[in-house]
Amino acid sequence: MKIFFDFLASAKLAVWVLVILLVLIALGSVLPQAGSFTPHEIHAWQNQYPLWAKVFVAFEYLNFFSIFQCKIFFLTLGLLFVNLFCCTLKRCLARKEWNYSPFSLTGSGWWGFTILHVALLFMTAGVLIHQKYSDHWKFLVREKMWLEKDMFRQAAHTIPDLEFRLFFHKFQIEYQGDVVTKRSFDLLVQKPYSRPWLTTVAVNKPFTYQGYSFTMDDYGFAPYFRLRHTPSGWQTGPHPAILPPLEKNISDCNIFSFAHELQLRIDIFPNALDAKEGLQHIAYEPQKPVFMLSLWQNKKLLGSQLIQYDISKRQAISCQIGEYEISLTRLDYWCSFLMSYNPMLYFIYFSMWLCIVGFVIRYCRTII
């Protein structure tokens, strides 16, 4: 029993567990992880390196393509927890019959060691519980939009029934040159039989309500387009496109299909100067995004037009492609809104800081 306990409490085990953890984490950062890659991409990756196919099969068997959720990773963390527990216990409990010398590290060394390892125990336990019970959900929200029970449920079945609903308004973006220096929106939280609560959510300033935290994430433009066939007067209702912000040096598009095999493609150009020939005459300004509208019928291009929308004026603009008139009726912003449930979060933070305190006490003499 003593030998087994000594082994579990040993620094040798600690070092080996740390080395295994190090290797697993390094593998996790090198191998494509299921969280960020699709199975198809992993398959393509395997095809790209056929010589390693057997290794990949073994990795797949061990679930290394989702390493941070695999059993081996959790087992290693569990073993670390046991090791921390035993080595702390060994130094905390004086057992004469076991011949331990709990004060082999004296004074600040003993206190530091104990605080550091107890904090690490807390942290590992907190992380394991958090990993098991935490959850997060992402929503794409637009200005003047309600987020309520049905939409929560539609977005993810794992969301429990929430009694409150959220209203988003006053999306604000401040620029300095082409850099976004401030981004925020007002959020109204409405709960039956209680007064509504108004708050502002900004980048780096999330808010917490009923155990859930709400974070502002990515954002972009949400222009509304209307298509009208001039001779017949046939028209479509305004369609909201979801396009990325100008700062990202990419162009993205939304495609809308209508009757008569008609397709409207809307591209946004982050920097008109870099985009395509013929765009050079348009000055790049974050407040004046440039959209390229292409109209296709039966997979044949009817024509393309560039329009530049002035956000400060907020006036509808339109252009003509063949027999069709395309109008940009209004421009809003969209934002991805992250809602998360993080049990034990503050406990993890507390234990992290406690680790640092323990480390300072443990090593203050060594350092000085």
Binding site: A11, Q33, V179, V180, T181, R183, N204, K205, T215, P245
Partner: protein, 274 residues
């Protein structure tokens, strides 16, 4: 980048190169004069480094930390501060260590210069006091680890070639100094990880998202923890410990200057999610 800053930057680099050259000559010829030249070159270089840092801060109107150039400028300055402070504490020119330290600092500055040096406003993502805590402690940790690795380099050179650097500290003393520096570095690195986790929660909604840079920061941290454990409990000193430190420093270099160029990630030098 404006002209006064550019001029100061090149003067800084030139003085560090003088320090590097004299330190290298000192290693071979062991002349006291060369060690003194090295120390003074480093001190003058450091003064111009501080001026460059202040000018950058003034022109950019924010703490220089928003891109690769600014990050490298600041981190190398802190590494140099730590080295010069150590010189004063131990009352020694440490010219052999300066050869490693100034070499690394010049490389870091050169990498920064090769990247985008344009002045930009601080984006909304960086507008958090946790960022300053996170980045400053990252730089302090990097400074400590850089100097500690320089000592390990000297240790390894001396242990493989006992005739080299005979005027320098004994192997035992070098080992002890680098151990102390690692202890301080691990402490700063821990504060960096904790503050980064809190900042990440506010910014991305997750305190830990296995971002490649985050992951390699943890790998380097575990590497140094292994080093501390094998030293404290297994009483492993000497070459093994020195190699362990060099390995951990490689992890650190991968984190700071390897991954941001290889893997797309929402960290450090790559543009942050706005």
């Amino acid at each position: 980048m404006k002209t006064p800053e550019l001029v100061c930057f090149w003067i800084t680099t030139a003085w560090y190169l003088v320090a590097f050259a004299s330190a290298i000559f000192f290693v071979f010829f062991a002349r006291e004069k060369l060690a003194r030249i090295c120390t003074w070159a480093l001190r003058i270089g450091c003064i111009f480094h501080v001026i460059t840092f202040i000018l950058r801060w003034y022109y950019a109107a924010h703490v220089p930390l928003s891109n690769t150039y600014e990050s490298n400028l600041s981190s190398s300055l802190i590494a140099m501060f730590i080295f010069l402070a150590l010189q004063i504490i131990v009352k020694n020119h440490l010219a052999q260590v300066a050869a490693f330290a100034s070499g690394i600092v010049v490389l870091v500055l050169a990498t920064g210069m090769a990247s985008d040096t344009s002045l930009k406003a601080l984006s909304a993502a960086y507008d958090s006091y946790w960022l300053f805590i996170h980045v400053f402690f990252a730089w302090f940790a990097f400074g400590c680890f850089t100097v500690a690795t320089a000592f390990s380099g000297v240790y390894l050179t001396k242990s493989y070639n006992p005739k080299a650097m005979t005027t320098f500290y004994s192997l035992e003393a070098i080992d002890k100094i680098s151990y102390k520096l690692v202890a301080v570095g691990v402490l700063f690195h821990a504060v960096m990880i904790v503050s980064g986790a809190i900042w990440a929660k506010n910014l991305w909604g997750h305190y830990w998202s296995w971002d490649p840079v985050e992951t390699w920061a943890l790998i380097a941290f575990i590497g140094y923890l292994v080093y501390l454990h094998i030293r404290s409990f297994w009483k492993v000193f000497g070459k093994t410990a020195a190699w362990m430190m060099v390995l951990s420093f490689i992890f650190l270099l991968i984190m700071f200057w390897g991954l941001p160029y290889i893997v797309p990630n929402a960290h450090l030098q790559t543009p942050m999610r706005k």
